[in-house]
Symmetry: C2
Subunit: 136 residues, 2 copies
DNA sequence: TATTACCCTACTTAAACCATAGGGTAATAG
DNA sequence: CTATTACCCTATGGTTTAAGTAGGGTAATA
């Protein structure tokens, strides 16, 4: 299941990408428009800022703004930042690899290969789709 | 993330499919071999039985056995039975459709279309892979 | 008829998710 | 300089789900 965190994050980013000018936009504006809890959205945007997707400006007239063009923001990066690993099991994750504690041998594991297939299929989509693609 | 429930279920089914004869096999044998909690595995196999994948025989010499040939058991059915919806959001689920409460309009939702793509890619894999494929 | 092994219900623990509350702090306008 | 704005950070709690445990019931078989 996609978490609300990720969903809200994508919606907020889409909202920002949709605007004509990339001027700072207040959290409260996005929260109201997209019907997201203000405080929760604060935390999400902060995460995206730390990841390098967003930057912010303080004080009057301040707010958040995109650091890159929507076309340059891959969905795979957004997904990893908010949702975590794209793979369904840690033992096939490219960025968050971890050995399964219940698996003595990955090669003979019946689940392993199947999950690699699924990961590759998902990754293919997330790598080839950018924030811009979502606006259409 | 793939739940342990699903992972254990697939491992148990693979174990059964790997045997030469489809004679009843005791839960305890599978649990030991695959290092799965006995009681937990009981619940999982019961679910698979109710779904029509397995059947069981009581009394001495009893146990669980496959109702179909491994070749005839699609991974998509196993996944739906144990893991639930294959889609990442309810609003793009084929078998468990539900409207998103935070989404006024699916058509204009930026997440919707992306998740349909991901669902289709995953489904393509799960529909074209059977239990037999996992044994290789 | 005793044994075997499935069947069922309820409970516990731990973790993650989804917020909410409240204040701190930096930047800006005037 | 100072008040305001709006981001920044920490802590806390409710809810849900996953994962596993406990204990006994019941049907089938040798």
């Amino acid at each position: 299941m996609l978490s609300k965190k990720t969903k809200y994050g994508i919606k907020a980013l889409s909202f920002m990408a949709k605007r004509k000018e990339n001027t700072p936009i207040q959290i409260s504006v996005i929260a109201e428009s997209e019907k997201i809890s203000l405080k929760y959205l604060e935390a999400i945007l902060l995460t995206l800022k730390k990841a390098g997707i967003l930057s912010s400006k303080k004080g009057k007239g301040g707010g958040y703004y995109l650091l890159k063009k929507p076309k340059e923001i891959k969905m795979s990066f957004i997904m990893r930042t908010l949702e975590g690993p794209i793979a369904m099991v840690p033992c096939v994750s490219l960025n968050y690899y971890e050995k399964c504690d219940d698996c003595p041998d990955e090669v003979s594991c019946s689940v392993h290969k199947l999950m690699i297939e699924v990961r590759d299929a998902s990754l293919k989509i997330f790598n080839n789709r950018t924030l811009e693609d979502l606006l259409k």
